[in-house]
């Protein structure tokens, strides 16, 4: 106790204020500075993102300025015949019928959205699995971006070959999934699964700041090639007689 009585507290008093200040500054670092640095980093990142988005927008304005709207509208009309925006089933069936007739084949059956022409082994496999498959799940399996249909044709092999060649030159893209050709006496019967794609405009996310897709020379050459194909799906409108005074006669 005697020692404590003799202790000079004025010494501590003299150092107290500077020490408290230094301690406060040292404590400021984890309490205030570090969170601020994290906040600034986030703000900076956000700013950089905004700047990048702005750069994309500015580039997009330049790119949009280069587009010839009239020319592209005409090209789109033509592309619509190649890959339409919807199924356009009546024109499709009419067109395929036209191709078959031009090749000299007889269309005996047409069925929309069939299953595949099953082989014997496939039939056996599906028979065992069919019990567990519900109608709903079958509907889900139907392709959403293409029309599939079955076609039955009759005629000789040469004509069928011509039909295939014409199909491949159709402006509306037509592909074949499967073929089954069978001879019945003198004529062949062909069962085909044909598919044709269609495409609706897709967009997702930040559409405004999404960069414009580039229409390359490859796009142009594919377009030119396909534009040269024959359009079998075109609408045929019968012109009525003109010059009638009484349209009901």
């Amino acid at each position: 106790m005697g020692k404590l009585d003799n202790f000079d507290f004025s010494k501590i008093k003299a150092y107290a204020i500077p020490l408290a200040i230094i301690l406060a500054v040292v404590l400021l670092v984890p309490i205030f500075f570090v969170p601020q640095i994290t906040r600034f980093r986030e703000m900076n990142l956000e700013l950089k993102k905004s700047q990048q988005r702005l750069a994309i927008l500015k580039q997009k304005i330049v790119d949009l300025g280069k587009i010839n709207e009239n020319e592209e509208s005409l090209q789109l009309l033509e592309a619509e015949k190649i890959v339409p925006s919807d199924k356009k089933v009546p024109y499709l069936l009419m067109g395929v019928n036209r191709i078959a007739n031009e090749a000299g084949l007889f269309v005996s059956e047409m069925e929309l959205n069939p299953g595949k022409v099953a082989t014997e082994s496939a039939k056996a496999a599906t028979a065992s699995a069919s019990k567990s498959v519900t109608e709903g799940s079958q509907a889900n399996k139907l392709p959403k971006d293409k029309v599939v249909f079955r076609l039955q044709l009759k005629g000789d092999l040469q004509k069928f070959k011509n039909f295939l060649a014409t199909l491949e030159k159709s402006k509306r893209l037509l592909g074949i999934d499967s073929i089954k050709a069978e001879v019945n006496g003198d004529t062949y019967t062909y069962n085909l699964n044909i598919y044709t794609p269609f495409k609706t405009l897709e967009s997702s996310g930040d559409i405004v700041a999404e960069p414009l897709p580039v229409f390359t020379s490859r796009h142009q050459s594919i377009f030119n090639m396909l534009a040269g194909f024959t359009d079998y799906m075109e609408e045929v409108i019968n012109e009525g007689t003109t010059g009638n005074k009484d349209p009901f006669k």
Partner: protein, 189 residues
């Protein structure tokens, strides 16, 4: 009157030392305050810079968005056109040119004097043909032609049935290799 030093030499030194220590501590505290102040000022200036930049960018972005939206019809046309050509390109690269396969098959069958009974084409160009042929030498020429064909590969003879005075019946499985329309591949190059 002469100066009289009343403090002893040792005590004077001690006082000087104490005062010097206190001064150093005060200086350190002052420097710490100054450094903290400087950092705070830097932080404030940087915050000001970020806020001002963000405001400028957002104003510029708003103006640019307006310009883009003004031309939205042009953009929709362009996007639709490119997407459709891309879809067509995808289709052309995957489609099987079956006219070529049937053309070649007909030539092979005619050359070997065989008759096609059934032809099945399935997934990934899997070809299955069933037909009849008059003699073994014709069959040999058919097999040879198939093995030399550039369009077909992996030919496998599944069955070959021969009954006296009747043509041979055969089943052959093979793969049709070609993919994509010839026009499409040449235009892509």
């Amino acid at each position: 009157m002469a100066d009289i030093n009343l403090v002893p030499e040792v005590a004077r030194k001690e006082i000087k030392k104490t005062v010097s220590r206190q001064q150093t501590a005060n200086k350190a505290a002052l420097i710490a305050i100054l450094v903290a102040g400087l950092i705070l000022t830097a932080f404030f200036l940087y915050w000001l810079f970020i806020v001002a930049s963000s405001k400028l960018v957002s104003m510029d972005t708003e103006r640019s968005e307006g310009k883009v939206l003004e031309q939205s019809r042009k953009e929709i046309t362009h996007r639709a056109l490119v997407q459709k050509i891309d879809e067509a390109s995808k289709f052309l690269s995957l489609v099987k040119p079956y006219s070529i396969s049937f053309d070649e098959l007909m030539i092979l069958l005619n050359d070997s004097k065989s008759t096609l009974k059934i032809a099945e084409v399935g997934d990934e160009g899997k070809f299955k043909i069933n037909g009849t042929i008059h003699n073994s030498s014709d069959f040999e020429s058919l097999v040879e032609a198939l093995s030399e064909s550039e369009s077909f590969s992996d030919s496998v003879l599944v069955t070959l049935d021969g009954v006296k005075d009747k043509p041979y019946a055969f089943d052959i499985e093979m793969k049709f290799l070609k993919k994509g329309l010839p026009e499409a591949t040449s235009s892509a190059n």
